[in-house]
């Protein structure tokens, strides 16, 4: 196996099981992330993005969540078979996660400095003074002044809190950073600041990243590769250039047609009709067929297989291959 692969997810299936129904949140996804690489995981609400992230972190709430099939290798080790203790050592140390909402990710009754030093003290055998120094250094790097060490989270603005959380996730030099919508709650000028910091740090520490977002623009500016998720499946994946310049799946096309373009205002928006299917009641055949404008009979009964070598897509037809030749 490729030595540089930090994360390797194989045929992952995650279900949420309740008395009434089984919601199939993730339905057989495969992807790899190499050292220093950034993968954008894009999809709409309910596509299974966050469930995928929580599976990697081994944080799926159980019950009702269950990883029913598949393997997740982090640095060659299948984390699904980890003991709780091994998981704790991995989290924060090998893999770190940035959550979407900076307002709720910090403990409101602890100073920022204390919560950050706690991370270092938990994972490494260092003195309190050393831990404090490391926290202060990293806070400086993300642009938070050291005199704010003893402040409480409510004294910070949203952008400042997200910087604190980024600093917290990087304290133990993780190999892999999972960022779940890290800038969605922020204004655009602040978002630009935060993305800039993430990009710089990634380069500096050669960190791999999985960036979860619904914003195709954010992916274009931060990631090398992209995977488009729909109803718990990756329907298209490849390098950002491949997928953005030549989307092959009707859903990916639909996403691009739905967003207003800044450099082109004559175009009319072409929405995707309908809404994403209920995960507890997925359609037969291709999960996207009820919303697909190119739907044929085969799409209603048979699941498409993954086509393509590097630029992969999951559709019965190669609908847009002719355009490529032009």
């Amino acid at each position: 196996m490729d030595k540089n692969v930090v994360l390797d997810v194989k045929n992952l299936h995650v279900h949420y099981v309740t008395d009434d129904a089984t919601a199939k949140a993730v339905n057989g996804i495969d992807f790899q992330v190499r050292e220093g690489e950034a993968l954008g995981l894009v999809g709409e609400t309910g596509a299974g993005k966050t469930t995928t992230a929580l599976s990697i972190m081994q944080l799926i709430p159980d019950p009702p969540g269950m990883i029913v099939d598949g393997e997740i290798y982090f640095e060659g080790k299948n984390v699904i078979l980890n003991t709780d203790k091994e998981n704790q050592a991995m989290r924060g140390n090998g893999v770190a996660m940035i959550f979407q909402d900076p307002m709720t990710a910090l403990n409101p009754v602890m100073t920022v400095g204390d919560q950050l030093s706690e991370v270092v003290l938990n994972h490494e055998k260092v003195s309190k003074a050393e831990a404090k120094q490391r926290v202060i250094d990293l806070l400086e790097i993300v642009g938070v002044k050291s005199d704010r060490y003893d402040d409480y989270p409510h004294q910070f603005s949203g952008g400042q809190k997200q910087r604190v959380i980024i600093a917290m996730s990087l304290l133990c030099n993780p190999k892999l950073l999972i960022a779940d919508e890290p800038t969605t709650a922020l204004d655009v000028t602040i978002q630009a600041q935060v993305l800039d910091i993430i990009n710089q740090l990634r380069e500096q520490y050669k960190m791999a990243m999985v960036l979860i977002t619904h914003d195709l623009g954010v992916v274009a500016e931060t990631c090398d590769n992209v995977a488009i998720m729909y109803a718990g499946q990756i329907v298209e994946a490849g390098t950002v250039r491949e997928v953005y310049l030549n989307p092959k799946h009707p859903y990916t096309r639909g996403l691009f047609d739905s967003i207003p373009k800044l450099d082109d205002d004559s175009t009319e928006l072409i929405p995707i009709e309908g809404a994403i299917s209920n995960a507890a009641d997925l359609p037969t055949g291709c999960y996207f067929h009820p919303r697909c404008r190119y739907c044929q009979d085969i799409c209603k009964t048979q699941q498409p297989t993954v086509k393509g070598d590097h630029h992969k897509f999951m559709c019965h037809f190669d609908l847009f291959s002719k355009e490529e030749e032009k």
Partner: protein, 329 residues
């Protein structure tokens, strides 16, 4: 050609009392919206976009200044007159989950304004009108007896739009109507709003933090910063020749899906300052790389720099002729 002005505000102010003094949510805003047009309002959270929309509808009483609707000063209207007036102006809120009563059916929700304003005499007439509206916004008839919880965000927003249209308003404030929706559904709602505008000659004030959405739907765009309108022009002028340093930085910060051309980002230092008891001078001065002494001591006037292009900056002429530029590093 002079367009007909529907909405005009003059030195409109809304201050909220807070323990530390006054929060200047809307400060000295002058704007006009022509009939049948869309004015997009953009700005970051806390800049007063929503408050401006509400003060124009008189959902908040203005601290001072005038709101003219078709030339009539609505701030002086009595409660009775205002109730009459409200038939002409409606609002669509951001969160379609919070703005529908969960105990009422879709039919009842859309019918309610018709009852309140006593527009039709009989229940049959009202029912016919509700069905007409449901058809207009693309809701199937079987939804009539369904409840909001059975709907996803996009269809809920259609219900909200049908309710707003029920009494034939001329002017609608759309306060982040698509922010809570996924992109594929967002496009459905944007298309619907634009179709309705064409069909019914509606006038919109469209508030959003998403600049690409605002560009798509607007005729003119106003940019707000800390309670003040700092630039207003046609959408093409705003995007092609922005004159205010904040507008320039804001536009450059939008993440672009264009992978062939990497855009240059202007990363502003610092964050939006407090709107409580703001100091004299330009409110953007603390973050502005071009700020001079004058900027921190004198308020910039909102002037018409070019025809239909207004800006509040002491140094706009230097930006216009290209002598002032952001560093390209």
């Amino acid at each position: 050609m002079e367009n007909q002005v529907l909405i005009e505000t003059k030195r409109l102010k809304k201050y909220f009392p807070v323990p530390a003094g006054f929060l200047h949510a809307v400060d000295d805003v002058n704007l006009t919206i022509n009939k049948g047009e869309t004015l997009g309002i953009v700005g970051e959270s806390g800049c007063g976009k929503s408050t401006l929309g509400r003060v124009i509808l008189r959902l908040h009483e203005a601290t001072s200044g005038d709101v003219l609707y078709d030339g009539m000063d609505i701030n002086n209207f009595s409660a009775d007159e205002m109730r009459q007036m409200r038939q002409n102006m409606q609002i669509i809120f951001q969160d379609p989950y919070a703005s529908l009563n969960p105990r009422m059916t879709i039919g009842q929700i859309i019918e309610e304004p018709l009852k309140l304003h006593k527009i039709y005499k009989t229940a049959e007439e009202r029912r016919a009108r509700v069905e007409e509206l449901m058809d207009l916004v693309g809701l199937p008839m079987r939804s009539y007896n369904q409840y909001p919880h059975e709907f996803d965000g996009g269809r809920r927003q259609r219900v909200v739009i049908a309710r707003a249209l029920s009494i034939n308003p001329q002017f609608i404030v759309c306060d982040e109507p698509v922010s809570a929706l996924d992109v594929s559904v967002q496009a459905q709602i944007l298309n619907l709003l634009m179709d309705l505008q064409k069909k019914m000659g509606l006038t919109y004030m469209f508030i959003s933090h998403d600049l690409s959405v605002v560009k798509h739907i607007s005729t003119n765009i106003g940019v707000m910063y800390l309670g003040q309108l700092i630039e207003k022009a046609s959408k093409n002028d705003i995007f092609n020749e922005p004159l205010h340093p904040y507008t320039i930085a804001l536009l450059s910060a939008i993440p672009s899906t264009n992978v062939l051309e990497k855009s240059h980002k202007i990363i502003l230092k610092g964050e939006i300052t407090s709107p409580i008891n703001p100091k004299v001078g330009c409110r953007f001065a603390a973050r502005c790389p071009f700020a001079t002494e004058k900027c921190t001591s004198e308020n910039p006037e909102f002037v018409e720099a070019k025809p239909n292009h207004f800006v509040a900056c002491h140094r706009w002429s230097e930006i216009a002729d290209g002598t002032l530029k952001y560093n390209q590093d």
